[in-house]
Symmetry: C2
């Protein structure tokens, strides 16, 4: 029987989603919990392989279990075997051919930036302490320029698994509450480090510190050396996956 669960996690203490032999990852911890309730090794597929330190509010994972589980019972059994920083918020049976990554048609990520000089002790694991003011009007204009279908190669790293770096961003918007700025990106899919590299470029562009004068110039240059290192993992959260 195929199952689909929605996971929320604080990624601070994990080496990302993907199983690793020597470090705790979300997938390895979830696999152990599944093994404990099912008595054998279970193969899991996540919608997005979040990197080390990245969080999720709505990661989706699919897997098969021999036993037939009620969704609520499965959720309870898994949460009883998971640490407090990883929670199953929903569990249900799925169609036999459902696959969390293959069937995903859209994802939403958020990235949180604290522009205040003073960090927030309650958000210290979940925001980038940028410590500088941002021009939010300019930021929204630049976010609009990122929307649409583009070759985003400038915002990624060399990655043999990816056939094309053309992606579509459907929406890019910001919210601000006091000195906390949250940027949301929704799109069909994102390249590795794409959101964090776009964030790094956007804030440097905002402060007039990039050689390129605009998002369009960056994208059309295709020149990764114009863009700095990705923004810190801890500001990034996978919010939602659409099917």
């Amino acid at each position: 029987m195929r199952y689909r669960i929605t996971l929320a996690y604080d990624g601070t203490d994990y080496f990302g989603w993907q199983m690793q032999a020597s470090h705790p990852t979300i997938q390895s911890i979830l696999t152990m919990a599944l093994e404990r309730i099912e008595g054998r090794r279970i193969v899991t597929h996540a919608a997005g392989r979040t990197d080390a330190g990245v969080h999720a509010e709505g990661q989706v994972v699919s897997f098969d279990l021999d036993r037939e589980w009620d969704g609520i019972e499965l959720r309870r059994a898994l949460n009883g075997n998971l640490p407090q920083d990883i929670r199953v918020i929903d569990a249900a049976t799925a169609d036999d051919d459902f696959h969390a990554r293959v069937y995903a048609i859209g994802k939403t990520y958020s990235y949180r930036i604290n522009t205040s000089e003073v960090s927030n002790p309650f958000l210290r694991r979940y925001v980038w302490d940028f410590r500088h003011k941002l021009d939010l009007e300019k930021l929204q204009v630049d976010l609009n320029s990122l929307c649409g279908t583009h070759d985003f190669i400038v915002f990624t790293v060399a990655d043999s698994e990816t056939k094309t770096s053309v992606r579509t961003i459907r929406e890019a918007r910001l919210e601000n509450e006091g000195e906390l700025v949250t940027i949301y990106f929704s799109g069909t899919g994102f390249l590795r480090y794409q959101v964090r590299t776009m964030i790094a470029a956007l804030v440097e562009l905002n402060r007039g510190r990039l050689k390129a004068g605009s998002v369009d110039e960056l994208i059309s240059s295709g020149d990764r050396s114009l863009v700095g290192a990705p923004a810190p993992a801890k500001g990034l959260t996978l919010m939602k996956v659409e099917y």
Copy 2:
């Protein structure tokens, strides 16, 4: 020169505000930071002595320093010597007779309750996972009954330092966002464990699990045995102090 600072802290890893010889407290960590910048032991006074595990967004502390400090410079110097879970959000000189506790005329506390069966990995240090639904209309009615000037002895513990258990609650209101319920209390001052014990009584009353049938009955009984143990420290935050 007298100074007044506003502190925000995640109280999870501390044994409350008050200095202790053998355990890290907010006061001991702040005192060490002050000692490092001033070169001698400094006596500090906080508006409210938060208990172990209780948080603050707006704790106020007063102390004297020999050196004359600009507020922003003092804030930076202290934050440079404090751990990330304790932050000075504001620092300024104060009148010579200012005293953070004596001059306080009002305080606001918040208490956060997660009524969902599933805990939230991002709020796990800051909410009480109550895991049961609450009747919010009844809760607001009971909050209204707590407002005003009453003898709150039923909601405290034996405490020789307190002359009277009569206090005034100016406002008691709730906000809810999804399954997260936040209760705010504003008043002239609160007894030790008062907010957490009121919360414990309110939720049990809400579920019809107290012998007393109403807040009025509880208050007028003066009988502490009618009320259970205080709600967990981690849900409580000192939001604001008024002068």
